[in-house]
């Protein structure tokens, strides 16, 4: 890069002729003695302080052992906190005593004359570099690799291929069945009752009053092979709104029951449970990132980082007056992913 050079000429050329371009380093300032260097009594005091600090540490260790044996963790928060605080304070004493003693020793008693050492460039000398290159060249010649091109390719090829023996089984097994389409299905199906979370009690439509919010799981969730996995997709919130407030899309008119609506509880942003309901404004708020959904208007996003409304679960009532699903969700629940629309 010869076309780029450092601008070296000094910008300020002063009036003083014969002066150097830069100031000279005046050298180390004179050493200032500590009190203990001049006064033996002060030095003795420092030594006593160090001794006392080591003593404090020993007391801390003894205190820790006493607290360990004497204070049971017990059955309630109070006894646990008592034990924790006693052990913590004693341990802190034991450690801080040693630390403070060592540092005080270093600062007040040890020789505090600053010393100077030379630095050398990190790079090796040209001779060393030459010798290193010569060694590599000699080694390469000994191996014969430069004359045998096929050998080189074989070496590189086999080294590049062998990791597949670890990677292929790892990738094959680590995602279990790799059935990513299961993101699009939940336990909900036609006629499945809505039950309360976590007791699993079916919900009568008549019990859902205006302004209330119900946290809902599908009936028989516990019998599923992986209940938590299913619950993570199937949780629903049910609210009843004054029917006058409810704005419904024409194709969803029959998805609600007398103002009772059911929506997925999983946020369409990154999947937190949307759990905060403000009944006056009919707004649902996700406590993680504050996406806000308007329940009265099809859970449209009114604020925050989510884009899509919460998916609605079509519901109705069965012969006994219990809330049941009409089908599964009509779109994948939760956060967006590449092929959610396919």
């Amino acid at each position: 890069m010869t076309s780029i050079e450092k601008h070296q000429s000094p910008v300020h050329t002063g009036t003083g002729e014969g002066l150097p371009e830069r100031f000279d380093d005046p050298g180390l300032p004179p050493h200032e003695p500590r009190r203990g260097d001049l006064d033996p009594a002060a030095d003795k005091t420092s030594e006593r302080i160090v001794l006392a600090l080591f003593g404090l540490s020993t007391l801390g260790t003894i205190g820790f052992l006493v607290a360990y044996f004497a204070l049971p963790t017990g059955q309630d928060a109070a006894t646990i906190q008592r034990s924790n605080m006693a052990l913590g304070l004693a341990l802190a004493c034991a450690l801080l005593g040693i630390g403070a003693a060592a540092i005080h020793w270093a600062k007040s008693i040890m020789n505090n004359h600053e010393r100077v050492e030379d630095r050398h460039s990190v790079a090796s000398s040209p001779e060393v570099r030459e010798a290193a290159v010569a060694n590599l060249v000699a080694g390469a010649q000994d191996s014969g690799i430069s004359r045998r091109g096929l050998l080189k390719s074989a070496l590189v090829g086999s080294l590049a291929l062998f990791p597949l023996t670890i990677v292929v089984p790892l990738v094959g097994e680590v995602g279990e069945n790799w059935d990513v389409a299961s993101f699009k299905r939940t336990l909900w199906r036609k006629g499945l009752r809505l039950t309360t979370d976590p007791s699993g009690r079916p919900i009568k439509a008549a019990d859902v009053t205006v302004g209330s919010i119900w946290h809902v799981i599908p009936e028989g969730l516990e019998e599923a092979p992986h209940p938590l996995d299913e619950k993570a997709k199937a949780v629903v919130i049910v609210m009843r709104l004054d029917q006058a407030d409810l704005v419904e899309a024409p194709e969803r008119r029959d998805w609600s029951h007398e103002g009772i609506v059911a929506y997925s509880k999983i946020c369409t942003h990154v999947g937190c449970p949307v759990a905060l309901y403000e009944k006056d404004s009919h707004h649902l708020l996700c406590p993680c990132h504050q996406s806000t959904f308007d329940v009265a208007d099809g859970c449209r996003v009114v604020f925050g980082p989510a884009k899509r409304p919460l998916p609605q679960l079509p519901i109705t009532v069965d012969d006994e007056g219990y809330l049941v699903a009409q089908s599964d969700f009509t779109e994948p629940i939760g956060p967006s992913f590449w092929d959610r629309l396919r």
Binding site: P26, L95, A106, E117, V270, C272
Partner: protein, 589 residues
């Protein structure tokens, strides 16, 4: 054991050939045994009296190291009792609030650690506090290295190693935070799942890769456990070793000062001074963490409950070092989730979740190389910069920190709303704008402040300190006496090399032929100007002489030297000040 004031160098007694005591003989025997088998004598000879410069800010990295050792010690204790399993059990321990609750073995064993293992809660809290301090120390250490230019040649590789350690620290913190399998950390994992799914094409597979199938699955806790106790700490240990080896190899940087140059190290020897100071400091760091763990509750998972995909509590937040990511997610408006054909690209998740940390971290990792490219400087630097003397770098650093702080604040927007009774929507809108405006303001302000401080340095060097002593002359003119600087005071203000923008060869040579590579050089020059155009250069001896020669600066013609002058000024009204040449008066330039 203690040294008395008489045992200073020079008065040391010659080493006796036969060790006088039994202990000394045993030590000599052990040393001989080891040296004959390891040749350790060479290392001890080279390292025992190796010098390290002293400054409080050099202890930030030490805090990181010592909190890491504290993490290892407390972590080993925790692994004795923690069960990394997602098998469901019914709780039967002493904590009555959760009696009979279904939970994973991981959560149940965390409760056992907290309530039934004596000292277990202390160790958990030590571990968690140490993790928070570990990250805080790493980041403040990085700030020190950044603002003082300690990353310059030959330390660029060590900067990258340190950067990698920070990323590994984040990974360690995140994987450990999730292990207790409580509601709070479980929601954090759910957010992670949401982030991963958003990645185009491979997102859903990435999520399956991590969780071993659908979220939350059965595999995650054991997998995170392996990551947390084996992979990440193993890598951190190896890289910490390398990081410190480079510190020894390069010898530590030093702050500028008289007697400190690029070709020397001024400081105290490793043995005994830093063995005592650094060794002692380990106990102080561990001790302070123990004090925090004994008196301040952290992560009381028994109040949160075991993980369940349904509940969540308001005001839930990650640990502080993840707040900026959570804040970015909160600030991003949702409109940018795009559907292209039938494919969904959730930019509202990808920008805050991948692009923001990518740019922030990538820029941090590459900064030394960018600055070296802009300055064209290929010399080694062992004397640190004073941040004021590199205004652009300092301003960039403060600007990035400001953006980071805005994101941290955004990660707490709900708490700000509830504590200060403000609308969450207004706070979010203010912070959305602040993310762009605040760093810009911070940049301009910081650069101005740096330039002003550097100008102030020049002024003090040229005109001396104001002495607050006013003298009136026979002519009626008033004058404040200025005290010239002593050479040590002056040196700190004039020692730095001015870094000027690159000069490039012209586009056409003498025969009018356009040269190749000119456009590239031009771009590089523009970058260089951005970095180094605005600067205040140090005073040169000629400038000082010029300033003094036009007599404006209280130069006392009879003054024999700065020391006596200082004495005269601090000693009250000295008759010599009356000899001032008051004709020109003392004015600021």
């Amino acid at each position: 054991m203690t040294a008395t004031p008489t045992s200073r160098p020079g008065t040391r007694a010659p080493a006796p050939m036969v060790p006088p005591t039994r202990a000394a003989r045993a030590a000599a025997g052990t040393a001989d045994y080891l040296d004959q088998r390891t040749g350790i004598g060479l290392a001890v000879k080279g390292l025992a009296r190796k010098l390290f410069p002293e400054h409080w800010s050099f202890m930030l990295g030490e805090i990181a190291l010592y909190s890491f050792i504290t993490l290892l010690l407390s972590g080993v204790f925790l692994t004795m009792f923690f069960v990394p399993s997602m098998n469901e059990v019914h709780y039967t321990g002493p904590w009555t609030a959760l009696q009979g609750t279904q939970m994973s073995e991981a959560y149940a064993s965390t409760l056992r650690l907290s309530f039934e293992v004596r000292g277990g809660l202390l160790m958990r809290q030590i571990h968690h506090w140490a993790a928070l301090i570990f990250m805080a120390a790493i980041i403040t250490h990085m700030m020190r290295v950044f603002f003082t230019g300690a990353f310059r040649k030959p330390r660029e590789i060590n900067w990258v190693i340190g950067f990698t350690l920070m990323v590994l620290g984040l990974a360690a913190g995140f994987s450990g935070y999730s292990l207790p399998d409580d509601v709070l950390s479980g929601n954090g994992l759910r957010i992670t799942d949401g982030l991963m799914r958003g990645i185009p094409i491979i997102g859903t597979y990435a999520s399956y890769f991590l969780f071993g199938g659908e979220f939350p699955g059965q595999d995650l806790i054991p997998r995170l456990f392996t990551v947390h106790v084996l992979l990440v700490p193993g890598l951190i240990l190896a890289l910490v070793g390398l990081h410190l080896a480079f510190v020894f190899l390069h010898k530590h940087t030093q702050f500028p000062g008289s007697g400190r140059s690029n070709t020397n190290v001024v400081g105290f020897p490793l043995f005994p001074v830093y063995v005592a100071k650094a060794g002692g400091f380990f106990f102080v760091v561990f001790g302070v963490i123990a004090l925090m763990a004994g008196t301040m509750q952290i992560n009381p998972v028994w109040n949160y409950g075991p993980y369940d995909p349904s509940p969540v509590s308001a005001g839930s937040q990650p640990d502080w070092y993840m707040l900026f990511l959570d804040g970015a997610l909160r600030l991003m408006p949702g409109q940018v989730e795009w559907v292209i054909g039938t494919f969904t690209v959730p930019l509202n998740v990808l920008i805050p979740g991948m692009v923001v940390p990518g740019v922030l971290l990538g820029g941090l990792a590459l900064y030394p190389f960018i600055e070296a490219y802009a300055s064209g400087d290929r010399r080694e630097h062992h004397v640190l910069d004073r941040p004021r003397n590199v205004p652009f770098r300092t301003a960039v650093g403060v600007s990035v920190l400001t953006a980071f702080l805005v994101l941290v604040l955004a990660g707490s927007n709900d708490l700000v709303a509830t504590r200060f009774h403000l609308s969450i929507n207004s706070i979010t809108w203010v912070l959305r704008f602040a993310l762009f405006v605040a760093p810009a303001i911070a940049f301009v302000l910081t650069k101005r402040i740096c330039l002003a401080l550097a100008r102030r340095d020049r002024e003090i060097v040229l005109h001396g300190h104001e002495s607050a002593r006013i003298v009136r002359f026979a002519s009626g003119e008033y004058l404040e006496v200025h005290t010239p600087l002593d050479e040590h005071e002056r040196w700190i203000r004039v020692q730095h090399d001015p870094v000027r923008p690159l000069e490039i060869a012209p586009a056409e040579d003498s025969r009018g032929v356009r040269r190749r590579g000119y456009a590239k050089d031009r771009r590089r020059q523009r970058l260089s100007r951005l970095f180094f155009e605005d600067r205040v250069e140090p005073v040169t001896p000629a400038e000082l002489a010029a300033a003094q020669s036009h007599g404006a600066h209280d130069e006392l013609p009879t003054s024999p030297g700065p020391d006596q002058l200082t004495g005269a000024v601090t000693g009250g009204d000295s008759p010599r000040t009356l000899g001032l040449d008051g004709a020109t008066g003392a004015r600021e330039r």
